[in-house]
Amino acid sequence: MTAAMLGEAWAAMGANRLRTFLTMLGMVIGVGAVILMLAVGQGAQQQVQASIASMGSNLFIILSGSVTSGGVRMGGGATPTLTLLDAQAIEELPSVAAVAPSSPGTAQMVYGPNNWSTQVIGTTPSFLTVRDWRLEEGFPFTESDIRSATRVALLGKTVAQNLFGDEDPVGKTIRIKNSPYVVLGVLAGKGQSLDGRDQDDTVIVPVTTAQRKLFGSQFVGTVRFIMVQAESAEAMPTVEKSMNELLRQRHRIREGADSDFSVRNLTAVANTAAETAQVMSLMLGAIASVSLLVGGIGIMNIMLVSVTERTREIGIRMAIGACGRDILLQFLLEAIIISVIGCLIGVGLGVGGALIVNKVSGMTVVVTIGSIVMSFVVAATVGIFFGWYPARKAAGMKPIDALRYQ
């Protein structure tokens, strides 16, 4: 019976191909838009999450703060007030996993005919732990390199490529500001940071080497910033509080006076970015859903016209023995077939569109089975929902009225 009704529904759709196609188009665009928007949204979310993961987890950054000198406030970071000893003291605090004092600067480096200008970070081996940064090859420098300020370097991926090309950099000697440095290792690629910088365009050297030999330092032993990793997300507030107390004490800051440093919770910033991406993803999905709804209303609209137009046919069918259920089934099946086929085409277009967006703009797009299944279920539901009313209208007709309809 259902098979026969399916045939009847199919035949009716075939009889008015242009209309069927246009009705389907609403569904195609709706489903295609939902899949594409979800793919773009989830891609953005994934990108943000990857950036967050590349930054390291449960992170604080302590920056040296403003110093007021003769009534002139110098602004954040103007005067290096943080020292290696501060870093060592923080390491002693409970719930602190790792501490990486850092002194960044910019330097020109040369290998053979190639040269490249990049950011050089003087830091300690725990920097790699804090930033959750692996080495692709070679070994990190050690505490003894820090003590003796040896000229060794770890190259970021971008730097290694620009200086060495296909050559293996490990063990080679490069010149930074005309001094020779031995390349100990190459860092694994991290990609873009949250603010779009290339994180791989970096060279890491021992903090003491940077201070004494590379950049020199106004005040010996000072660093620009200290990165601190807490043991867990739960411990972060305690760690923040105890660091503030410790540093104020160490810097001899009186009660009520401004700190000469500032502690920033990087994880909170990252979470905000992640939430923003999620909200954007939801918004895109919601906007696309509206077009799916409009597609569904399109189906209802056409089905209502179709029912009116085929009143006489309904009358004939009833006269020769169709009961209400048969008529209902026929029109409902028509709506469902239109929405399901429209959905299939829409899935194809959505996935294809996502691939094109990826190719053309290089945006990360993520098409999940979940989003395909979801839009399929939604489309079928929309078909049933919006097909139900016209089908009910058809099935509820009185045979005699339907037969007399001109």
Partner: protein, 244 residues
């Protein structure tokens, strides 16, 4: 009311009123009529005499306001919508003035349509449809569309469709109203054959006395009442024509 095993239609004290804004308008008044199996009956009457309404009630497309109607010994008044649909499917074959074929379906599919609603499998449907097509002499047109064949052929298709479920009763509402004289004769010959050879009961509504002349029995309606019910021969032909 006595029930006869061979009675197809038994109607007693049947009334039908239409509700309008001006109040109820009676259309059929105290109609009583029995039709036995194998009869060929013509219903005549002027416009507004209630014969269309009567036909619709006979065909279970409409229900009476009061009175009793037994079709094939089943009390139609107590049946649900679905049971009425089932009865139309199993017992009655309809032939309409305007043929009422589905324009987009092939001849074959049109004839097979009633079988869909009794759940006959597709291969069986097509087999029966083609048997009926042969019976009405249109076997070569099975895959044509209704608009590709003549009016007379369309009415044959409609008759084939009415026959496909092997009904006891054929209800024909002005079946020759849209046809020319020669074609009308062919269609009426087909009805006569079905009646005489297959024993199918036929109830025919018509304006034309020469069409009614193919029947054995005549029922004349006027103003919602049966004014004549008897053998065709005793009904004066000129008198009939004047009512058209």
């Amino acid at each position: 009311m006595a029930q006869h095993a061979d009675a197809v239609i038994q109607i007693d004290q049947l009334y039908k009123e239409y509700l309008t804004d001006a109040g109820p308008v009676p259309v059929l008044k105290d109609v009583r009529m029995n039709v036995a199996a194998g009869e060929f009956l013509a219903i005549m009457g002027p416009s507004g005499s209630g014969k269309s309404t009567f036909m619709n009630i006979l065909g279970c497309l409409d229900v009476a306001t009061s009175g009793s109607y037994f079709l094939n010994n089943r009390d139609v008044g107590n049946l649900s919508k679905d049971e009425l649909a089932h009865l139309r499917n199993q017992v009655i074959g309809f032939v309409f003035q305007g043929f009422n074929l589905l324009p987009r379906a092939s001849i074959e599919d049109n004839i097979a349509l009633p079988l869909i609603y009794r759940g006959t499998p597709r291969s069986e449907r097509l087999k029966l449809a083609n048997q009926m097509l042969t019976k009405v002499g249109l076997a070569s047109h099975r895959s044509s569309r209704p608009n590709q064949i003549s009016g007379g052929q369309q009415q044959r298709v409609a008759i084939a469709r009415a026959l496909v479920n092997r009904p006891r009763l054929i209800l024909a509402d002005e079946p020759t109203g849209n046809l020319d004289t020669a074609t009308s004769k062919e269609i009426m010959a087909l009805f006569t054959e079905l009646n005489e050879r297959d024993g199918i009961t036929i109830v025919l509504v018509t304006h034309e006395s020469d069409i009614a002349a193919y029947a054995q029995r005549l029922v004349r309606l006027a103003d919602g009442r049966i004014v004549y019910d008897g053998p065709l021969a005793s009904a004066a032909a000129p008198h009939l024509e004047s009512t058209v």
